[in-house]
Symmetry: C2
Subunit: 352 residues, 2 copies
DNA sequence: CACGGTTGGTGAAACGATTGGCCAACCCGG
DNA sequence: CCGGGTTGGCCAATCGTTTCACCAACCGTG
């Protein structure tokens, strides 16, 4: 196989020095070259099929044009793929590429993974912990620009991007209220994650705004048996919804902590002979299309802006480290808007 | 910030040459060093917190310890995350890391993406096209070891790993037959992808084996309206299933092309007052847990071995390029077994 | 014609590792 | 004391870029 051709081959073929070639190919400002030379170099480079060697450049410039993405459970939650996608797109737009590692939540593995990233001189790191958790930043990342994804950290110096759970919960419940519902239940699991607190807060605020008294008996918590699995959530959602629906004065609207729990609510409703949305309106959270779209009628839900989160995180990171165009900026912490995705599971409450 | 410390710092601190440090740290065979020196170097490296610079090493050795992963629709299909995960795990086990790019199916973007990978001197490439399609390998990848993932290629010189769709279809239908079903329908979409042909083939073989005549009227094809979306598939699955279930002599078992279509079948059954699995047994394909587990009763289905595919692809790639331990091997093309995931949607047919 | 300013470059030292070739010192038998 | 093998280790080139520092030639001007 023919040796890969480098900058010096181009220089030789064009009859100039490598310095000149480098200047021209990189469009370095302030360095002059005649239009003719410039033209010739480009052409020769093209003809020879010159490809930059990023390892060599990185060695010299101390920037690898590479971003490390470290996730504790890549793809365990399906939508996390969208985070990666968003990050990758934003990175690619700046000529950067994502270096992916996964830790499966294992400390030791995480250490090794981070090491592999640092060894490769990543320009920065995206540290993604699914489910909007509170985490602490591994020591080894202290010295590299890092932004947290779907997670936050005690230390205020660490930038992050998370979904605005409160606004999301508020939006979900508002959708019910606007359709005329006054008696609105909520079904939740029992894990104490920030996401849960936020969504409950949103629920309460929306009620309050509408002048509806908050009734604790309308929020039903059930523990998932097989925790974290779709089946576990759906089952917990079923039990929680059932409890609410057999109440004396049952709610006409239901806000479910997530789409999986909403699936359980559908089952509970069906079992009790309640039709959706005729007898019961339901709104979920997450917009996992595999659930929200395959349910019938399709589930109205609030979307977790995964793609945007990935994209914003990269943008933040790049702002942090500075790009050729712009200087390094300040640490930012961002909460992203969660839009409503209205489908067919919400309508006016039945007249009594 | 203190300059990162390099091999020469270690050498200086240990009072030896960089050559010696390199030999020791890399455990180069055939190069001798006294036990004492060895010990000292390790210790000094540890104390100073020496970290290898992979860019520099890669520049010298012409291996970046990096694998490019290029997908046309990363994470569009949720389980594709599992492919990446499998690949990442297998790579990490060999000290390699995945460089991720996505093309969104755009030719131009693909070209640029591949370029970015090659620029970074990846040791090999995983080219993943979701949905087991037939693709042709981009010209620019010809000169780099590449293995196809969930895709195949006309050229027999290109290694690939795909699921064994025929076996999968066979397994699905066998599950029904073993429970006593003789009248088994199949619901499919209309896209002509290899996956479809394979699964149909598996269906026919299983019937044949059991001495059941193949009846074309029992395979119902419906075109998805919003193609590719879960809602589209579910809807097509609903229509197809409905057609079969209102037949004079309706099937007692249903093999659905995928889990989304199975979700549609559930709806059709419910609408017609048929209970699952009492009146109708259903088996899906893909094992998208978000669907198969949130359906009620939980869906028996055949699993696409995404994780293993990713892992095997990396193994193949590494075999192809050769590792320190083993020499480069031959091109291999692999079909992976699709196991049955039995849940609650299959039982014996109702007695008539 | 001497001089300062521009134009259009060039040379060579990094960056941080790997590795082929060389070599001094020691040991041991004869 | 010589010769040859082994031990333990070092020199310097190299990988492909970037970039600092320098410079020859030319041009217009006073």
């Amino acid at each position: 196989m023919a040796r890969r051709i480098g900058i010096k081959d181009v220089a030789a073929a064009a009859g100039v020095s490598v310095t000149t070639v480098s200047y021209i190919l990189n469009r370095v400002e302030g360095k002059r070259a005649s239009a003719e030379t410039r033209q010739r170099v480009w052409q020769v480079a093209e003809e020879l099929g010159y490809k930059l060697n990023n390892l060599a450049r990185g060695l010299r410039t101390q920037r690898s044009q590479t971003i490390g993405f470290i996730g504790d459970e890549i793809a365990t939650t399906p939508n996390s793929g969208r985070i990666i996608l968003g990050a990758q797109d934003a990175a690619a737009a700046q000529g950067m590429v994502l270096l992916l590692v996964n830790t499966g939540g294992d400390e030791e593995l995480e250490r090794r993974s981070i090491e592999m990233l640092l060894q490769r001189q990543v320009d920065g790191v995206l540290y993604a912990a699914m489910y909007h958790r509170v985490v602490e930043l591994p020591e080894s990342l202290r010295s590299t620009p890092t932004v947290l994804l779907d997670a936050r950290c005690e230390d205020p110096a660490v930038p992050f991007v998370v979904p605005d759970e409160v606004q999301g919960g508020h939006t979900a419940v508002r959708e019910l209220i606007e359709h005329g519902h006054r008696r609105i239940g909520m079904t939740i699991g029992v894990d104490d994650i920030p996401a849960l607190q936020g969504r409950i807060e949103g629920y309460r605020r929306a009620l309050e705004e509408a002048g509806i008294r908050y009734d604790p008996s309308l929020v039903a918590a059930e523990k998932a048996v097989r925790i974290g699995t779709p089946a576990g959530d759906a089952d917990a959602g079923y039990r929680a919804a059932r409890r609410l629906l057999i109440m004396e004065e049952r709610p006409t609207g239901l806000f479910c902590f997530n789409d999986r729990m909403a699936a359980g609510a559908y089952r509970a409703a069906a079992e009790l002979g309640l039709s959706i949305p005729g007898d019961l309106s339901v709104v979920g959270f997450d917009n996992q299309e595999l659930v929200s779209e395959t349910l019938y009628p399709a589930l109205s839900t609030v979307q977790l802006p995964h793609y945007e989160m990935g994209a914003r995180a990269v943008t933040q990171l790049l702002a942090l480290t500075g790009t050729p165009d712009s200087p390094p900026g300040p640490v930012t912490q961002e909460m992203l808007h969660c839009p409503l995705v209205a489908r067919a599971s919400v309508t006016s409450p039945p007249r009594l």
